[in-house]
Symmetry: C2
Subunit: 249 residues, 2 copies
DNA sequence: CGAACGTTTGAGATGACTCAAGCGTTGTGG
DNA sequence: CCACAACGCTTGAGTCATCTCAAACGTTCG
């Protein structure tokens, strides 16, 4: 089933079975895409959106020197460019980070579903708002955290999101990306990301080797990255057993 | 009329007159709020949203030292926390930057409008997606620009947004905020923002004094901040140069 | 007039960057 | 099956942007 991961564990907005089935039926095709391939260009008119089934996809903006800033990373179950349904043209590019399997949903099908199931539309809207909430967490990360904190925050986020779709056991998961990807996510250079990873290793917080992330001290890593998963709106997340660090303001 | 500025000039999603009138009718009250006041706290259950009529409002996240990262700035005409309609609880705080006049719209009214005018709901969705697009531009700003670029980018954005609601003549506008606000927006210290403002002044790009921004060289400022207004989805903005066609990243 | 607040400037510290080189792994073609 | 190229990781040394701390200055307002 294509949609088993979509909206899994979303607080207050789970999909009904009939919604899930209708969405399944709306899938026009399933594609395999090579790794590191851009498949949606900024500014192009779109009539379909992409549900990610397997692999990792990112959204990014190019600067004038050709460097990239990633603005989102997507994990299986994410409706990657659902916002293209109302927007029609995106302000950024979308590409795979790894080989990926995706399900294509034509916007015309979403139109039909909007008539049939207005409540479902609300849930799709909700889904795009979670992406926006993640953007805000990323803004906090870039604006207020130092290099180690940024990487720690990112790893905590991905761990939480992968756990929600059973792709992390809560402390260990596959993440087939390279250090320069993390640099493009965290607004750092790849050289510095390398030093950050060493720091995380030396502080026994986290190890990232051969595409596997192993979190050795989840609470410590979360504290280092000031990570609070509330913005992910995942059900049953034990609320931030807050890092016990009272700090004088 | 409360809604004259809302969705003004939005590309491909202008409001019909009857939609505008219905929204007017949905306003339950109009409030005046003091400057620098938080009026929506992160995590609190909400049953209404806020349309900004006059003044400036921001959304922000606190870090553990009590420092703030602004994640959005709103200008008159913005439906500030419309995303609270589907989300119900926000992941951030909302507060005024200046004294502000706001119109309150109960979510129950939006429910009614959803039944009466499904197309209007689509436009509200669209509106929240523009906020997300702005988040992405801010991510680019923080991740890829240096201090001068960040401030330049921000000033270009505010200029463009204020111009769309007739609060900038395209080069000069009131912005009653202080340098530390810009610091909290751009992920810098207020001391450094001060030096950046001097640089912009010395390079004859822009002057910011007594709450007035005067852009002396719009093109130069945009170039310094790598600003491309496409993400604002404003009608009749001269479209940017389009992307290249290579596919492999 | 004085207090509060915001701006400006200086000097020194530091975190992240740049450039450069070496190392390890993987995949491939001779 | 080895050699080598390509790629990613690691480390070092020097530079630079931004931060921190500190002080002075300007403006507003009670």
């Amino acid at each position: 089933m294509f949609t088993t991961k979509f909206f899994r564990d979303k607080e207050g907005a789970k999909l009904e079975l009939h919604e899930r089935l209708r969405l399944e039926a709306a899938v026009s095709q399933v594609n395999q895409i090579d790794g590191r391939t851009c498949f949606v260009r900024s500014g192009v008119y779109l009539e379909q959106s992409t549900l990610l089934l397997e692999g990792f996809i990112c959204r990014y903006v190019d600067d004038k020197k050709g460097l990239r800033q990633l603005v989102a990373v997507h994990v299986p179950g994410d409706f990657v460019d659902l916002h293209a349904y109302p927007l029609k043209r995106l302000d950024h590019n979308v590409g795979t980070m790894t080989p990926a399997r995706v399900a294509i949903v034509p916007h015309s099908e979403l139109d039909d579903m909007a008539h049939e199931m207005p409540k479902f539309m609300r849930k799709l809207w909700f889904s795009t708002l979670i992406d926006a909430a993640i953007h805000r967490a990323w803004l906090f990360r870039l604006g207020r955290l130092d290099a180690v904190g940024r990487v720690a925050h990112f790893l905590c986020e991905i761990n939480a999101r992968l756990k929600a779709v059973d792709l992390s056991d809560g402390a260990r998961f596959e993440l087939p990306i390279i250090q320069s990807d993390i640099a493009e996510i965290c607004g750092l250079t790849n050289v510095h990301v390398n030093r950050v990873m060493r720091t995380l290793r030396e502080e026994n917080l986290c190890v990232f080797r051969s595409s596997v992330v192993e979190i050795l001290n989840l609470q410590g890593l979360a504290s280092r990255g000031q990570f609070d998963p509330a913005y992910l709106y995942i059900s049953h997340v034990p609320q931030p057993s807050q890092p016990t660090m009272s700090v004088k303001i």
